[in-house]
C-alpha cells in the first residue's frame, strides 16, 4: 500500500485561531503560531510537517474554510496530487 503524505496550507488571514483543528488531528501535525494575523488571531500552522498524512479532518471541521490539504502518494514514481479544501 502506498504511503500517503500530506501537507496543509492555512489561509492565515481567514484563520480565527479557534483551535478546533488541533484535537481532530490524529497525527498531532497542527500547532498554533506565535505570530498573529491582521485581525490579531494566532493562526494554525503545520508544526510537525513529517506527521501529516493528508486525512483532511482539519479541513472538514474548520468553520472558516481556512485549511487546504494537499496529498501525495510517496512510493509511486508518478506523484499524484489531489487536493481538498
Amino acid at each position: 500500500m502506498a504511503k500517503v503524505k500530506g501537507a496543509i496550507v492555512v489561509n492565515t488571514e481567514v484563520c480565527k485561531g479557534c483551535e478546533v483543528c488541533i484535537p481532530v488531528c490524529n497525527e498531532n501535525a497542527i500547532g498554533m503560531s506565535q505570530n498573529v494575523n491582521r485581525k490579531g488571531y494566532h493562526y494554525a500552522y503545520m508544526s510537525n510537517p513529517e506527521a501529516c498524512n493528508g486525512c483532511t479532518n482539519c479541513a472538514i471541521v474548520c468553520p472558516d474554510r481556512a485549511i487546504t490539504v494537499y496529498r501525495v502518494k510517496v512510493p509511486t514514481d508518478s506523484h499524484q496530487i489531489q487536493s481538498h479544501g
Partner: protein
C-alpha cells in the same frame, strides 16, 4: 459559499454547517434552483455567505415564508436555516404547523441552547442549571420549564418525513451531518414532505468557554439531553432508545 470571510465567532459551528449545506447543493447540482430563507439571529448572516438565492424572514417566520415560496415555485428546493431561539421560541407555531402540513421544504435547525446574537439569553433549549444572562443562577425547571426537544416534538407530526439530530464538532459528525442534509434535499426532489435536521452546535461566546472546551462541554452535557441520531426515517418513527 461566497468569498466573504465569515463573521461568526471563532470556533462557531455555524461556519461548518454553512459549508456542508453548500457542499451538498453543489454535489447535487441544484444550487441554481435553491432558495434559502434566513430568519433573525446569528443565522441571519447566512445570506452573506451562501451563494444561492436567499431571502430574509421576520423572527421565527421562516417556515411560513418558505411555505409561500415552495407553493409559488413547486419545482424549487426551499430550505430554512434557523437557530433555536428563532425556531423553538418565537416561531414555534409556524414551525409546528409547517411540519404538520408537511410542506416540501428542508428545515435546518442549529441548536446551541442559547440566544447567541443578542448576548446569551436563555432559550427554550437551554439545559437545566445552565447559566445565561437571563438565568444567572442557572435554569430552574420549576419556574422556567424544561428544555424543549424540538426534533422529538415535530417527529410526532404526520407531515414530517425525515427528522434527525446531528452535530458538527468532529470530522465524523460533520460527515454524518452532511449525509443527512443530502438525504433531506433528495427527499425534497422526490416531493416526500418536510425534512427536519437539527444540528447540535456550540456557542462558545455565549457559554463563556474556548471553542474546544465548549465542544467537550457539549459532548458531556448537551448530548445526554439531545441524543444524536435519526428520529424519523421515511415517515416512520424509530424506536426510542
Amino acid at each position: 459559499m461566497t468569498d466573504n470571510a465569515l463573521t461568526y465567532c471563532p470556533g462557531c459551528g455555524h461556519g461548518t454547517a454553512h459549508n456542508i449545506t453548500m457542499e451538498v447543493l453543489e454535489e447535487l447540482g441544484i444550487g441554481d434552483e435553491t432558495i434559502g430563507v434566513a430568519p433573525v439571529g446569528c443565522s441571519v448572516f447566512a445570506y452573506d455567505f451562501m451563494n444561492v438565492d436567499m431571502t430574509q424572514a421576520p423572527h421565527g417566520r421562516a417556515p411560513a415564508v418558505a411555505t409561500g415560496i415552495s407553493r409559488t415555485w413547486p419545482d424549487k428546493y426551499v430550505f430554512t436555516y434557523q437557530g433555536d431561539g428563532d425556531l423553538a421560541a418565537i416561531g414555534t407555531a409556524e414551525t409546528i404547523h409547517a411540519c404538520n402540513r408537511g410542506e416540501n421544504i428542508v428545515i435546518i435547525f442549529v441548536n446551541n441552547g442559547i440566544y447567541g446574537m443578542t448576548g446569551g439569553q436563555m432559550a427554550p433549549t437551554t439545559l437545566e442549571g445552565m447559566r445565561t444572562s437571563t438565568s444567572p443562577y442557572g435554569r430552574e425547571i420549576e419556574s422556567m420549564g424544561s428544555p424543549i426537544k424540538m426534533s422529538e416534538l415535530v417527529a410526532q407530526l404526520p407531515g414530517t418525513y425525515f427528522v434527525t439530530r446531528q452535530s458538527v464538532h468532529t470530522h465524523k459528525n460533520v460527515r454524518k451531518a452532511k449525509k443527512a442534509i443530502k438525504k433531506a434535499f433528495e427527499n425534497t426532489r422526490l416531493r416526500k414532505g418536510l425534512s427536519f435536521i437539527e444540528i447540535v452546535s456550540n456557542c462558545n461566546s455565549g457559554w463563556k468557554m474556548t471553542p474546544n472546551e465548549s465542544n467537550e462541554w457539549m459532548e458531556e452535557n448537551m448530548f445526554p439531553m439531545f441524543p444524536l441520531g435519526d428520529i424519523k426515517v421515511n415517515g416512520k418513527l424509530k424506536q426510542a432508545s
